[in-house]
């Protein structure tokens, strides 16, 4: 996945959005690191998709670690005296 502003022409397509919206985005990105409306739209869509894809997993009770991995890090922390 490539962030906005760095896409090669062979990997992009055109999507239509209302001109009013595009104008709003132009104003929004003034003075930011986004160098085009496309790069901003790409960023926003990726954020939305990422949230949708992780809707049920993006909370602290979802496993960040496998059981084995958690044990491994816990052991290491205990050996450092950090784990309460």
């Amino acid at each position: 996945m490539i962030w906005g502003g760095q896409m090669s022409s062979t990997n992009i397509t055109t999507i239509s959005i209302p001109k009013v919206l595009a104008d709003k985005i132009k104003k929004r990105i003034e003075g930011t690191g986004f160098n085009s409306v496309s790069s901003y739209v790409t960023y926003v869509l990726r954020q939305v998709l990422s949230k949708v894809e992780t809707k049920d997993t993006n909370n602290k009770d979802e496993n960040a670690f496998s059981e084995k991995d958690e044990l491994r890090v816990k052991d290491r922390l205990r050996s450092l005296g950090y784990l309460d």
Partner: protein, 463 residues
Amino acid sequence: MEKVFVFGIDGATPELIFDKWIDELPTIRQLMQSGSYGTLSSSIPPMTIIAWNSMFSGKDASELGFFSYSYQDKQGKTKLVSSKNVAVKRIWDILSSHGKKTISLFVPLTYPVTEINGTMVSCFLTPELNDKSCYPKKMTLKIRKLGDTEFFFDVGLSEGAYKSLEIDEILKRTYRMTEMQLDLLEDLMSREKWDFFCSVMIGTDRLQHMLWRHFDSNHRRYIKDSPYKNALLEYYKYLDGRLAKILKHINMEETTVLVVSDHGMIRQQGKININNWLMEEGYLVLKAEYKNRIKNEKVRFRFEAVDMQKTICYASGAYHARIFINKNKVGKDYVRIREDLINKLKKIPDDKGNQINTLVYKKEDIYKKPSHPDCPDLTVYFDNLSWASNPDLGFSGLYSWETVVGADNAGHSMQGCFIISGNKIKNRGKIGEIDIKQVFPTLCKLLHLNIPKDKANQPIEVF
């Protein structure tokens, strides 16, 4: 274009960096002399994962959403914290939404990594090099080329007790880890585009815990003429030398450089067996099976050992103590009982009977979200943290030198280091103590992000 580089040195201690060893660290000295520097008041508690995230978000532990390395999940199971526990946006999240690029290396509590506009490699809480430790994933290939990655994220062995490792082995691993991490840093710095680059070196923390008594003649267990008396200084010198090389990749005309630490270190006088004290005072009652068990063995403290039908409060926490009052048991007497407890805690003497300077914080005085379910009712620093708290069970009496997992000879202190230098920064020399949460709005100002309205945490006055 404004750029910011943060070189984090975990546990770097003002007394060593600013005073004792300053003449041996020419790169750091040059940054101090050209910019502004001062001591940095760490987070409460001064724990690595809390402090660094406080620095990069401007939030306290209650807002961040965690108070230690572990938390209870919905099933009451003790689990290890991860980046998923971080309840707030950190600076790289905000920069990404502004289209600015970040490179974040080894910042504590970044595992699993999140997708940012830039590059992220996770921290010492990483089980092994895998797809969740690097964004983009292809970074794993680059890291594997650096060599054996067993100690890429940390020096401890999962199976072994770090504190019992031979010092030579610790040093060897720490240098190897640091060398690989800094090789990666230099490679990315010279090849990639970035607006914000932050990195945290963990090796200093690991070595300081172990080596303090080898160079500090005021330490109770000072080892005179130790062959390791210069080992920590040599490591700092190594970091300073590598920092000089790193800075050669930076255009100082457009970049502000910060050298910071999350907390300092303080020589340890010993440990106060806090749960022994709570039992003696009648606050804590263990379950029968644990009462029997600790007659014959030392046991790591765990919540499961507490008889909550009879207990008023119990403590956890390494270095500092976190005390949790059993609200179901104390009911309306909460305030009275807590005040009594504070008074008694402040009267605990050292092992020779001398009064010590113990600080006890109430949760509502230090946190914005004291109602967080994991929030301790009291946070205790014995003698400004020169006495550590040992929550483990089965120890004899009130004082010990070790916990169940072993001994160390320095603990975390409340003051870290802050150095800032660049074209936009005034040459103010030494400035007054700053709060760790002020680093975030300072970064926001440098990177043209909105500065939070919180009046208590405004940018440091160096512009």
